[in-house]
Amino acid sequence: MGREKVILDPSGFRRALESRLCQPLLSEGFPLSDVVLIGIYTRGVYLAHRIQRWIKRRTGMSLPVGEIDINLYRDDFVRRFDLPQVRRTNLPNVTDKGVLLVDDVLFTGRTARAALSAIIDVGRPAFVKMMVLVQRPGREMPICADFVGVEVDPKDRRVYVELKEVDGKDRVVVR
């Protein structure tokens, strides 16, 4: 497994999620009433729901949450051996809405590129903004995040986002 370095412990995780992803949404220039959250499977979906619940607690507004599976839009089929199962894409109406696209890690940008294609296939959003818990260097596409929880440079190692819903606790580690 190699050396493990904890980037965010549970309380750091919570601070990053709340103060760097959720809180800034309230002071952005767009009305949240015209915004939908779309999570990218698997962990982006859980994060999108967490952000939705936080906004609801704060403002009483209940934003629609969609889920997107980008497997059908991949550009790296040939190199993937362990193709995960295709999950159900379930998108709210995005036409003329602001879309907040949520994922756990932004790395090459290829997943975000695929997600954009998938969103554009079902409608014409007013804008799309990207929210990621972790941003790391290594972009292969001209894509950047609008809201970032934490930035890391793990060099050759991998970033793992662990979530209560899947892994039992909230943590970000580099291995």
Binding site: D69, N71, L72, Y73, F77, V78, F81, D82, L83, Q85, V86, R87, R88, T89, N90, S117, A118, D121, V122
Partner: protein
Amino acid sequence: MVWKRKDLVGLKGLSREEIGLILETAASFKEVLFREVKKVPTLRGWTIANLFFEPSTRTRVSFELAGKRLSADMVNVSASSSSVVKGETLLDTAKNLRALVCDIIVLRHSLAGACHLLASRLPDVGVINAGDGMNEHPTQALLDMFTIRERLGTLEGIKVLIVGDILHSRVARSNIWGLTKMGADVSVCGPVSLLPRGIEKVVKVYTDLDEAMKGKDVLMFLRIQRERQEAGLFPSLREYHRLYGLTEERLKRLATKVILMHPGPVNRGVEMVPAGVDGENSVILEQVTNGVAVRMAVLYLVSTVLRR
């Protein structure tokens, strides 16, 4: 669970997990059918040939739409309008399709085992069985299972009765293999002359339909082919209907939660009265819709293996 087959020859050789994966994948694909733009780019640049040596509208169109919804290019080859009438063998026709760079061949043939032959002789082409003689019709059974699962929530413990010409039916064979693996309780009912020998070792057998229908969740009626009557396997269509068809009287006795299925095309008034075909219990048209989602799933899974 990772899909590892480049072909879908039948359900007999599949594991419960593999069947489950196809059904789960199909559930994800069904959403695409109801989008405004009913298309995803997954198989863009792929070529799929529908090679049909027997007449078919529903299955051929269903595969064609499944391929098109995945952005593949589809070509249709039917035996009557191809070099088959000039004496070309099945394998030569298929090799020519490969030379034309077709990635997947969907085959329907009157000989059992035709699909297995192509699959084993063409190592770099995906082969999908769309019906081979009296052997199997796996995608039909998969769409039947998908429909049952969508309606009743599970296949485990569901009591399914298949009624009619079991002997000549590839739909029945595939359904018996598949449903049994998925934990359904399968039984069959039909005239003794239309039941295969030894079937009682695999499933429960009834010859009295009224007795058979008791307590069942799903009634699946099979198409009766008129040639079978000419061959003397049952006396008349009228008698067949009275003994093994869904009559008005049997329809009235049906509980509301029982679902009625038919692989089509229906002989109205023979296998089922029109009120049954069109009634509240019928899921016949849902089966048709689900067929596209299931075939998309199969094409997709096979393509993931061919890409490696």
